[in-house]
């Protein structure tokens, strides 16, 4: 190992080898030679069955979280809805998982898999709840853990939300490696994988994503037991795509094919995710468009060669909400429902508040997650931090919010809205990215089939986009 070249370029050049060792999946066997790969085969052969996963998760106390009906929030929805409208809102209290978020489901599988395959430890690159989840699961299974987080700007000013994750990871016995802003975090991550030989508990492996399938499956089962049928819509906070992908796959496996899958992100447009200056001017470190859009339109940007999280395969609708609206709804959840959760996890709940107003009063919405709250990770420190960074806090119309400049709380709940993100636009840029990143000049009918599955669209739609790009079909 000592004679290896440790320079940035050399280590990045070894990324595929390092990843193969650290994930234990030979992704090349699923490649089909063209643009596509055998997604379902990868999920089947590299992952675990739903029954196996339920067993793995229940052995470390993960899953089977309760669903609560939010009656007071529904009453408030109806106050602002046309007569006969205002769907019933339910929430799945994923904060009840060990480590306080649905991420325990992803981590449970990854850590189990690492242990079974003889790895001594696990590493995850995450500034979010996933770090605490990996650390917690590693503690339960007696593995070592290293969490690599992007935490500070160059002045060592840290996001309070991320500082809390540092504390939580350390509380579970993890080593936390903290970095200043920049995508080169990946370089450090690779160096650590190479140095330790630990397992890469990536968020995007087949087992990580399959871990979320139990959430979707469970919610349909529970919902049917309580109300007699599956929810009409499931609302999912969308960032890297795993929450949407895993939940939707579970909902489908439970047979709820009519349930609409709605993704929601916080609109942070205008802020550059790799900017040292912008880093501390956002008040959400996940669930936002800075992850949601790039990961939907190019999932294979992840830390594994083929991302198992492919949100465009499953999204029926994708909506955006504003930072000020999520803080407002986080307060509503606390003072009207007695649940102090979030805030980032309440992105989908905020969208539910607006979407419920479009639906009939006898229809149902299930918001599929909550997350724990605490010092640093709470509206008060996050807004107090925003204010100290010169971000103005105002009441008004959240449509006027400018991320990084101000946060606009709704003057009253009638100002809470969803803005539909055109999924065709996302599909179009996904296909465009496939063409550019694979340097394509022509594609086959098999490629067209893959692209249409990967974007939940018709072959004609895909061919139309390819035609615009002057790509021949052979």
């Amino acid at each position: 190992m000592t004679n290896l070249d440790m320079s940035y370029a050399a280590v990045m050049g070894r990324r595929n080898e390092i990843m193969k060792q650290a994930v234990g999946i030979d992704y090349s066997v699923f490649e089909t030679g063209g643009v596509g790969f055998e997604y379902e085969r990868m999920m089947r052969e590299a992952g675990y069955t739903l029954e196996e996963i339920r067993e793995i998760q229940s052995s470390t106390g993960v899953g089977d979280t309760p669903i609560f009906e939010l009656r007071n929030l529904t009453a408030l929805v109806r106050k602002f809805s046309p007569k006969g409208k205002g769907a019933r809102i339910f929430i799945k209290d994923e904060a009840a998982n060990p480590s306080g978020s649905f991420k325990a489901r992803r981590a449970a599988n990854a850590v189990y898999h690492a242990k079974r395959n003889g790895y001594k430890g696990v590493i995850a690159a995450t500034s979010g709840n996933y770090g605490a989840a990996v650390a917690s699961q590693a503690a339960m299974r007696g593995l070592k853990s290293i969490i690599v987080q992007e935490c500070y700007d160059s002045r060592m000013i840290g996001q309070p939300e991320i500082l809390e994750k540092l504390r939580a990871c350390e509380a579970y016995g993890a080593e936390v490696v903290q970095l200043s802003v920049g995508p080169e975090l990946f370089y450090t991550f690779l160096l650590l994988l190479e140095e330790t030989g630990y397992f890469n508990a990536s968020l995007y492996t087949p087992f990580g994503i399959a871990g979320v399938e139990t959430l979707g499956y469970e919610l349909v089962e529970q919902f049917k037991a309580n109300t007699g049928k599956a929810p009409d819509k499931v609302l999912i906070t969308h960032a890297g795509g795993g929450n949407v992908t895993g939940t939707a796959r579970g909902v489908l496996k439970a047979g709820a094919t009519d349930t609409e899958i709605v993704g929601a992100s916080v609109d942070l447009s205008g802020l550059h995710m790799a900017s040292d200056h912008d880093f501390n001017r956002k008040s959400f470190t996940t669930g936002h468009t800075g992850f949601g859009i790039p990961f939907a339109t190019w999932p294979d940007r992840a830390d594994v060669p083929r991302n198992a999280a492919r949100p465009l395969r499953y999204l029926d609708r994708y909506v955006l909400v504003k930072q000020g609206e999520v803080f407002y709804i986080t307060e509503a959840l606390a003072v009207l429902e007695g649940l102090e959760r979030g805030p980032a996890g309440n992105t989908s709940l905020t969208a539910a508040f607006a979407v419920a107003q479009e639906m009939d009063a006898d229809q149902t919405i299930l918001v599929q997650e909550t997350e724990y709250t605490g010092a640093g990770k709470h509206p008060m420190p996050q807004l107090s931090f925003a204010r100290s960074n010169g971000v103005e806090l105002l009441f008004g119309n959240p449509d006027d919010e400018k991320p990084g400049t101000n946060i606009i709380f709704p003057k009253d709940p009638s100002f809470i809205k969803v803005r539909d993100f055109d999924l065709d636009k996302a599909r179009n840029s996904y296909i465009r990215n496939c063409v550019t990143n694979n340097k394509l000049e022509s594609v086959t009918e098999d490629d067209v089939k893959f692209l249409s599955e990967d974007t939940k669209s018709s072959a004609d739609y895909v061919k139309g986009v390819l035609k615009e790009l002057n790509i021949a079909i052979k």
Binding site: Y8, N72, A75, L76, K79, G121, K144, S145, I146, C151, Y152, S154, M156, G158, P160, L163, E164, L166, R167, E170, G173, A174, E175, V177, Q178, L179, S180, G182, P183, E184, Y187, T188, E195, T196, H272, A274, S275, D276, F327, E331, A332, A334, V335, L336, A375, G376, H378, P379, M380, P381, L383, S384, F385, R387, S388, L393, F395, F409, D412, P413
Partner: protein, 103 residues
């Protein structure tokens, strides 16, 4: 100058990439600053703040860097009081009362 003894719990800082070494795709403002790393461990020798020291982390890794802090505390809390949140809370409670009164 504060000094750490061998075995103390400390935080070290490393420069992973200098501004010149940063990846081509990073934005201009990020390119002007180094990529820094902080990690905690048990000091393998006595050292003063700012001096190079080796640490052993909780996973047993050995790594070197500039001594940055001794027994570093968690600095996050609930921040300054944000009165706007209270305004939302009061409004929400009043609205719910109105909504349920009209039922």
């Amino acid at each position: 100058m504060e000094r750490a003894k061998k075995g103390d719990w400390v935080q070290i800082r490393q420069t992973v990439l200098t501004p010149e070494e940063r990846a081509p795709q990073v934005p201009e403002d990020t390119k002007k600053v180094p990529l820094l790393l902080w990690v905690k461990g048990f000091a393998c020798a006595d050292a003063s703040i700012g001096e190079q020291v080796e640490v052993e982390t909780v996973t047993g890794r050995h790594t070197k860097g500039e001594l940055f802090a001794i027994n570093p505390r968690y600095i996050h809390d609930f921040g300054n009081f944000v009165p706007e949140l209270l305004k939302m809370d009061m409004q929400l409670k009043n609205l719910l009362e109105e909504a349920t009164r009209n039922d």
